[in-house]
């Protein structure tokens, strides 16, 4: 098992995400909560990094900051070569639109839209013509095995199928960073494996990076790296390309 020094392991051009000394505080005075306490982390291009740790350790806060939906209190967050801390709110919105794909725990699909319309949402947000967006969404849905459910409503799909639509939506605009929050927590073991298989097969590309927040140890073998968090800090980063990560299972995860 190899433990990285997250600071010096990679050069700047190799990393999709570089986090240095990031802290995040919520509240103030007696109610001050330190969710992150000086986090350092690198996510290289072409890697699928799993962020694991007990509930409340700061995984969600960290991934929110990396995805640009939350502002760090201190520290440096470089994503795809851009300093998120230096960006204005509107710039972050555009950055997310163009570069980040999201897969959420509860899918957050739009129930009024069909499968293909849901998958096309990021392209429509990006200003694509509807017909072109639908065409692109159809292609990726085909790859995900949902070619026969294009016009179904979301409520007509199983949980596994809904998660596949969410993956299609996250990847349709070819983002260079994919952020997945507990993508398998609502799925049974088989669907969980299928979901991670799809993510690692389609999303992991040399010029992209994938971060998966998960508690599900059954899917650890899809990881290229596993970063273990505890009490607002990264405790270890394991390289799974050279070492099996699932046995023995990581503590507290």
């Amino acid at each position: 098992m190899t433990l990285f020094d997250p600071v010096d392991a990679l050069s700047e051009t190799d990393v999709a995400v570089r986090v240095r000394g990031v802290t995040k505080e919520f509240g103030s005075g007696d109610w001050l909560t330190k969710a992150l306490r000086g986090v350092d982390l690198d996510v290289p291009y072409g890697a699928l990094l799993m962020l694991v740790g007990p509930s409340g350790c700061g995984k969600t806060t960290l991934v929110s900051i990396v995805a640009g939906t939350l502002q760090a209190t201190e520290g440096e967050v470089i994503v795809l070569g851009k300093d998120l801390a230096a960006m204005k709110s509107s710039q972050k919105v555009r950055f997310r639109r163009d570069n980040v794909g999201f897969v959420f725990q509860s899918y957050n699909l739009l129930p009024a839209l069909t499968v293909v319309e849901n998958a096309a949402v990021p392209l429509i947000i990006a200003g694509w013509r509807r017909s072109h967006a639908i065409e692109a969404a159809s292609e990726i849905l085909d790859q995900l095995g949902l070619g026969n459910r294009m016009t179904s409503l979301i409520t007509e799909l199983s949980g596994g199928q809904q998660q596949r639509v969410a993956i299609a939506r996250a990847l349709v605009h070819e983002p260079r960073l994919l952020v997945c929050d507990e993508p398998t927590s609502s799925l049974d073991a088989e669907n969980g494996r299928i979901t991670l298989e799809l993510i690692s097969k389609i999303a992991v590309q040399p010029d992209r990076a994938v971060i998966v927040v998960t508690h599900d140890s059954r899917v650890y073998d899809f990881a290229d790296q596993i970063a273990s968090m505890e009490d607002g800090q990264i405790k270890s980063v394991r390289d799974c390309r050279t070492n099996a990560c699932k046995n023995p299972p990581l503590e507290n995860s």
Binding site: V93, R96, F102, F104, Q105, N108, E182
Partner: protein, 371 residues
């Protein structure tokens, strides 16, 4: 998004429909009542000028003038012709001894100016026969309910015999009493004896002279109040608007419709937003700008507003159409009612969506990562 949640969608539409229906229906009834107040002015189509005592405020506010005032008006420069017109409330005694309050209109003996149009039984020239009267169909049905229309019926007014020689369709009046037309000389006999009996002088300006100018000349030369037909209608309506509780009562109902509609639509819209806040958060996380989110919410609100307005106004119109012959409900839906309802619906959806708009605009996109 909203259409995907059918129950919420219908809830909001219902709120808007309720408000639009109540506002359009009550406003139309109000307009109908206002129309009733000027029914008798509208029915007298020939003359362009009404001359009356200077203190008269509306059509039913009779302050008799001297018969000589007719000649004074006739003598004013610019007046083409002028005729006497009587209007009063009298008691009619029927064959069976029952009494009815009726509106008695006395028109010029020679020209019959002021006579009703659209007689559907009898002829207008029969009015020249002694004791002849014409009655409106609604009044006939009120006095002789269930009986077929028959001419020749005899009754008494002020101990003078009256013979029904014609039945006409007249505009209903605010007082809803039967309307009886007769010649002026006959009306004077039917009316209780008074020193002055001339209610109005109906006049017309000479061709090419504006009626307003002639009215001013009449007022200056005679001291009487002279109004064009339109001015008199407006003055009458203004009286009912300003000096009665009718607008306030209808206004309260309209306001209640507005408030209840806003409450239902607003609450449902807000609940819908709260329930879908994660979807909005997801859209924001994916890079949807606040402007786009705002447009999304507003477009849904506008869509609901259009559907609610259409259904509400449609139902109000249907109500008016359905009750046109069944009841004595006054109902008149001019374009202004449609505009008023549209403005109210616009305000309702704006107010209803304001809270939701605020909620979705301030929602933190990071909400999607919270369990």
């Amino acid at each position: 998004m909203l259409i995907g949640n059918r129950v919420k969608y219908l809830g909001i539409v219902f709120g808007v429909v309720f408000a639009a229906l109540l506002i359009a229906q009550q406003s139309s009834i109000f307009c109908g009542i206002m129309l009733l107040t000027i029914g008798q002015i509208r029915d007298v189509e020939g003359p362009g000028i009404w001359v009356m005592d200077r203190n008269v405020e509306f059509i039913d506010d009779i302050k008799p003038m001297s018969d000589t005032d007719l000649f004074r008006v006739k003598g004013v420069k610019g007046v083409d012709w002028a005729v006497a017109f009587y209007k009063g409330l009298v008691r009619a005694r029927m064959e069976k001894g029952d009494f009815h309050q009726v509106i008695l209109l006395g028109i010029d003996d020679a020209t019959l100016i002021g006579a009703p149009e659209g007689l559907f039984m009898g002829t207008l020239s029969d009015l020249r026969t002694p004791e002849a009267v014409i009655m409106d169909d609604a009044g006939y049905a009120r006095i002789w309910p269930g009986e077929p229309f028959v001419l020749g019926k005899v009754f008494e007014m002020n101990d003078h015999r009256a013979v029904l020689v014609g039945i006409t369709k007249a505009s209903r009046t605010f007082q809803s009493f039967p309307i009886i037309y007769t010649r002026y000389s006959q009306a004077v006999l039917f009316a209780p004896s008074e020193r002055k009996v001339l209610s109005f002088v109906l006049a017309n300006p000479k061709p090419g002279i504006p009626a307003e100018d002639v009215c001013r000349t009449i007022t200056t030369s005679t001291g009487l109040q002279a109004l064009t037909r339109d001015q008199f209608m407006k003055k009458t309506i203004r009286h009912f608007l300003m000096k009665t509780g009718i607008p306030v009562n209808f206004g309260i109902t309209v306001m209640l419709g507005f408030l209840v509609g806003t409450a239902i639509a607003g609450q449902t819209f807000y609940l819908f937003t709260i329930e879908n806040i994660k979807q909005f958060g997801a859209l924001k996380a994916m890079g949807t700008s606040n402007r786009t989110i705002l447009l999304m919410v507003l477009s849904q609100a506008v869509q609901v507003g259009i559907v609610g307005y259409g259904v509400g106004v449609g139902l109000a119109a249907l109500f008016g159409w359905g009750t046109r012959g069944l009841t004595k409900l006054a109902f008149f839906m001019p374009w202004q009612v449609l505009v008023l309802t549209a403005v109210a619906v616009f305000l309702i959806i704006l107010l209803a969506s304001l809270l939701s708009i605020r909620k979705v605009l301030v929602v933190d996109p990071a909400i999607v990562f919270r369990g």
